[in-house]
Each structure stands twice: as C-alpha cells, then as structure tokens.
C-alpha cells in the first residue's frame, strides 16, 4: 500500500500527471493553477517526467498544442483556470470532435468582471456544453485519483474524448492534505500505455478536421453526443476497476446521510465537506437532511440522480455560478429539469452562494435548508435567490 504523504493538492495533481507518464504538457500560468504547472515543469527539468513541456504564449495556444500533440498520438495533459478556460473556449469544442483524449485540470475560479482570482464555478459552468467529460473533486485524494481515472477513461477506444477534472481554486488547490500517492509502476497496472486509434503519421495519411457540410454536420454532432452519453458506463467501470486496484470506491453521485432524509442539499466540489458538517448539525437538531453531490457532471448521471432522489420531498440546490437573466444557477436549472415528470417530483429551490471567494459557512447551508423547507410548506417561494449578499 502506498503511504500517505502531506502534500499540497496542486502538487499532487502534477504528481498524478507524472505517475501517468504524460508525454506532453502545454500550459500557460494563471492563478490559482500555477503551482500545478510549476511543479510539472520541475518534474520535467529534473528528469522525473519524460515529457515535452511546451510553455505556450496563451491558453488558446495551450489547448491548440494539446490537440496537435494528442492527434500525433501523445498522452497530453494541461491545466488552467477561469479566464484561461474562457480563452480556450473555441478549441474546447474541437478537441472532442477530433477525438483527442486530453486530460485537463481546472482549478475553478471566478470569471471577470470584476476581475477576481478567487474560487467559484462560473468558469466551468460556462463550458458545460463543449463535449468534454467533466468530474468534480471534493478533496486532494480525489484530485489525484480522478486524474489517473481520467486518462484511463479518455483513452478508452470506446470513448476517446477529453476530460476536465475540476477542483476548487485555493480552497482545494492550495491546501496541504494527506494523500496516498500512487507511484508510476502502481499506476501502470491500471493505466496501460495510450494506443491511439487514428494518428497523424506520414505512413498512413489521414485528414482530420475537414469541413462539415449541412449533409454531414448533424450526424457528426450526434456522434459526439452518443459518445459522451455512452462514456458513462466506461467512467463507472473504470471506477470499479480503480477500487479493485487501490481500494478507493467512486461513484457518479456521492450521498451523505440520505437514509430517511426528507430534505436534500445539493452541492458541487470541495464545499461539500463544510456541507457535511452542516448536515450533521441539522440531524442533531432533529432535521432530516441529506447531502448529495455530483462527482460526474458530464455526462449527466440522470438515472443515478433520480434514483437517489426517490422519496425526497424538498431539494435545495446550491450554485456557485450565476446565469445572468436565466432561471437560476446552472446546476439548479439542470437538476430541476432532470426531476420534472418523475413520479414523486420534489419541490426544488435554488440558492446562489460563494461567488468570487465569498466564504460559505455551516450557517449558510442551514439557512438554505430552512428556507427551502419554509417555501415548500408555503407551496411557493422564489425560483432562486442569492445567499450572503451584503445589502449595505
């Protein structure tokens, strides 16, 4: 068994990419992702990772280099955040269309303006529709494990799609946690070398990225959608294999104290650990509150979610991003839509909190739950509201 070491989560992310024997890293520095790429360049400089480190001049080029190197058959890793992810936006759509299994860590951070380097989910929530598999980590161990898992899933011949592993900027990326670090040889048992199905090779010329006329464009889009939806079984299977190898079990949806719960709190990312404390406190007060979080966000684990929600009367969804002019936070609108038409449809209320690094306290979670219960009893409430706003 590998021993646990105290390590900054960013460095653990780099060590995971290193243990996976990444061939190419192309990245541009952006807070709070910097420690990840700094450590990767150190690993390359010290000869611990045999990879090409391409210090690009922008995130747009970072993603473009990644597409090129992946198309050339190399295992490719990058990391970014916020504005950098937004700058990649155009190329993010193209990576799955070209079937390039890139693995990217996103240290989630608010989007400008106003400019903010602190944590929320507005960067990733603006990239939901780009055709990437997307997972969210709760703690440092999960960051390490999800990166190893990501390479295995992305490179599966049935998938060949890129994956984003999300971790909260600063609140997770910059903390030191005890993590079981798998060595390269331990990872090798689980993660076989990448065997590309189609590669840019003068011996066997292929044309990649041709023009899609109206006669073929729809079919190309449907293929990507079918691949992404179909990837869920590979994602789940790869987690089962992971558990066999290393003893840690992961599922698309994580729940906490759901048995007998009437109200459920839904969160994403590392804030769920604070939410657990809130849930414990509410049970102590006699409130029947469970917690649910998505580890797998794309493809959306619809069946798992509906199953988990059976018997739940009230659902309080916390978003860490705002959807200007919309019907509520992105997670809220999606889960409400997922529950619409189910047999015992719960009442769903949305809360937006923790924007741009604003702390989310145990009290705030309790406030959300209490409000949701009150609105449910009354039979009406605001579709969504913002929590913790200073009014003066």
């Amino acid at each position: 068994m590998p021993k646990r070491v105290g390590i900054e989560v960013s460095l653990a992310a780099s060590e995971a990419a290193c243990a996976a024997d990444t061939d190419v890293v192309a990245a541009y520095p952006i807070t709070p992702q910097t420690h990840i790429v700094e450590h990767l360049s150190e690993l390359v400089a010290d000869g611990k990772l045999d990879a090409e480190f391409v210090p690009v001049e922008s995130e747009h080029s970072a993603m473009s280099v990644c597409v090129g190197s992946s198309a050339a058959g190399a295992r490719t890793f990058t990391a970014t955040s916020s504005q950098g992810l937004a700058l990649m936006h155009e190329i993010l759509f193209i990576a799955p269309a070209l079937r390039t299994p890139i693995v990217m860590v996103v240290a989630n951070r608010a989007l400008s303006g106003p400019i903010s380097i602190w944590n929320d989910h507005s960067d990733i929530m603006a990239e939901r529709d780009v055709g990437w598999i997307q997972t969210f980590a709760e703690n440092g161990q999960e960051v390490f494990d999800l990166i190893i898992h990501a390479f295995r899933v992305a490179e599966d011949p049935e998938v060949l799609l890129p994956i984003m592993v999300n971790l909260d900027g600063f609140t997770l990326s910059h903390v030191i946690e005890p993590i079981e670090m798998l060595s390269a040889s331990e990872v090798k048992r689980y993660l076989k070398p990448y065997k590309p199905q189609m590669v840019l090779d003068p011996k066997k010329p292929v044309t990649m990225g041709p023009v899609g006329m109206p006669e073929v464009y729809t079919e190309a889009k449907r293929q990507i959608e079918a691949l992404l939806q179909g990837s869920k079984k590979v994602v789940v299977k790869a987690w089962k294999e992971f558990a066999k190898h290393y003893g840690r079990t992961y599922k698309p949806i994580e729940t906490y104290r759901m048995k007998g719960a009437e109200v459920v709190l839904l969160t994403m990312g590392s804030v769920s650990e604070t939410a657990m404390t809130a849930v414990d406190r509410m049970w102590d007060k006699g409130m029947r509150v469970g917690l649910l979080r998505f580890r797998l966000w794309r493809p959306f684990p619809l069946q798992e979610f509906r199953r988990a929600m059976r018997g739940v009367k009230v659902l309080a969804v916390m978003d860490r991003a705002i959807s200007y002019g919309g019907l509520g936070g992105p997670v809220f609108t999606e889960v409400r839509s997922a529950l619409y038409g189910t047999f015992e449809q719960p009442q769903v209320f949305g809360f937006v909190a923790g924007l741009g690094g604003r702390d989310i306290t145990v009290d705030m979670f309790e406030e959300m739950v209490k409000k949701a219960i009150r609105y449910a009893k009354r039979g009406k409430g605001p579709t969504y509201e913002m929590i913790g706003v200073r009014e003066r």
Binding site: E52, G68, A71, A72, D201, P202, T207, V211
Partner: protein
Amino acid sequence: MDAALKNFKKFTPKSLPKVENLAQGHRACQGCGEVLALRMALKAMGKNMIVASATGCMEIITSPYPQTAWEVPWIHVAFENAAAVASGIEAGRKALMRKGRIPKQRTTIVAMAGDGGTADIGLQALSGALERGHDFVYICLDNEAYMNTGVQRSSSTPYGAMTTTSPPGKLSMGQNTWKKNMPAIAAAHAIPYLATASPAYYTDLMNKAKKAALIKGPAYLHVYSPCPTGWRLAPELAVDISRLAVQTNVFPLYEVVDGQYILTKKIKKRKPVEDYLKLQGRFRHLDKKMIQEIQERIDRDYEALVQKAALSEVKGESAETEE
C-alpha cells in the same frame, strides 16, 4: 549556416519531383495562384510531412467531408492556431520518439495559413511557436485580404486596395494603411531561415521550400498568392501578375539565413508600379497622386532591403538578375 544547406541541390525545370501531396480535384477558383504556390511548395518538401492548416480558402477547398485533396496527414483545428497545432504535433512526436514509441525519423511539420491567419488573428500563436524554436515550416499564403469570407481587408492588404471593408468612397481611397511587413516580424524572432517566394518563379519557390524543410528549427515562408477573384484580375493573369509583382519590386524575393539578408532575385531596372496596378480592378479607383505615393514607398522600401542585403555581405550566394 545550417549544415543541412551545405551541398544543397537546387531544383531545375527538368528535375522537378513527381510527388504530389495535394491532389487534383480540389475546389479552388479558376486561376487561383494560392493553391498553385501551395502545391509547388509541398512538392518540394516530399512525402514525409504532416500539415496543420488554419481555417481559410485552402482548408475549405481541400477538405469538404467525405472528400479530401490531401495525400499527406493533415489536420485543421481553427483559424488562429495553425502554428500552435504544429507546435503540438512536433512536441508530441519528439516525446514519442525519445520514449521509443514511434520510429526515430525527422518529419517535416508544416503549418499553413493565409495572411489574415498569419499577420492578424494568428500572429500571437505564430510568434510563440517561432520564439519557442519548434522544428517546423510556417507557410503564409498571402493573398492580401480575407478572401474566404468575401474579400475583407487585412493588415496585409496593400495601400489603396479596394476590399469590401476598405471600399473607396467620397471620403476614402480604399485601404488607408500600408501593408504590414510580416517577414520582418518573423525575422525579428531570429529564426534560422526565412524567405519570400512567388509562384511565377517556381524553382526559386521550391528551392526555398526545400531549404525551409531541411533546416532544423523554425522556418518561415511568405508566399505571394494572387487571388483573381478578390483582386478583380483576369484568371489567366495569376502567374503574370506574380512576375510583375517581383519586377516592380512590389514583392521582392529574398531570404534571411541566420539573420543575413540575401536578395534572390535582383531587379536591375524595375518596372513602374502602374503596370502592376492597372491589371487589377482593386486598384482601378486610384488617381495619379496616389500611384505616385505608392511608387515612392515601394522604391524606399526596396532600397532599405538592398541596404540590409548589402550589409550582410554574403559570399557564395549569387542572385539571379532580371532585366
């Protein structure tokens, strides 16, 4: 000079390679000088290549799925990132070769884009790739405007030219800025090889393409690419106009090898620029005063180039002279 250029064997009209990397049957306009130049450049570099293309005319005409005109591996990702994609291919192959996962063999990595994809939207990605020193050849096919979208001006559009976004009017004489000197920008990156080339001088173009491929590190080719459609030029005149551009010093042919400027086609007595302008509808609205202004600028720019070449004092390279 790069060891690869010692004992360099030049192409002659009789020794042109039979290899075709870009097949016939593509969908270029009649008389397209760009695809002509591209085909010759690719012929010169041989089959062992991978091409990363920017969005643009050449991408559209060669790759309407399920057809392709490409006989070599080719990838198109987006408009502004051909140099970055090529960087990735080069880096990926380098790592895989070092790790013994693909055979060790140097392959020519080509990035290609138009003038918009190079001098405007792709300039940053290109600068990054040149500065990082990737082993690749960048080909800018300069047809002096955004032709694929319907002839809009770029920073490479010449002064006075009519485009759909630099239209002559009561208050306008067409493009009101001078053409960006893209080769000078590329040269400022101190890359080992850079050249300008024209499809009218096809052996010269092919020799330069071959040199660019042979040299290790980044090489930049700036290729004059006449667009009859966008320039309001008779399709049969694409090669003639390419020659005239050189003979009038509108588009001088030169190389920059390790920082040394070398004129590869010296013009003893240049033709007046009016001969060049009058064949093209895009310049039809120009008055005498503007033509004079253009002439003066061309003479000044050419003189500056001659000075640079004189400073270089290159031995062993004799430019062909044309009357």
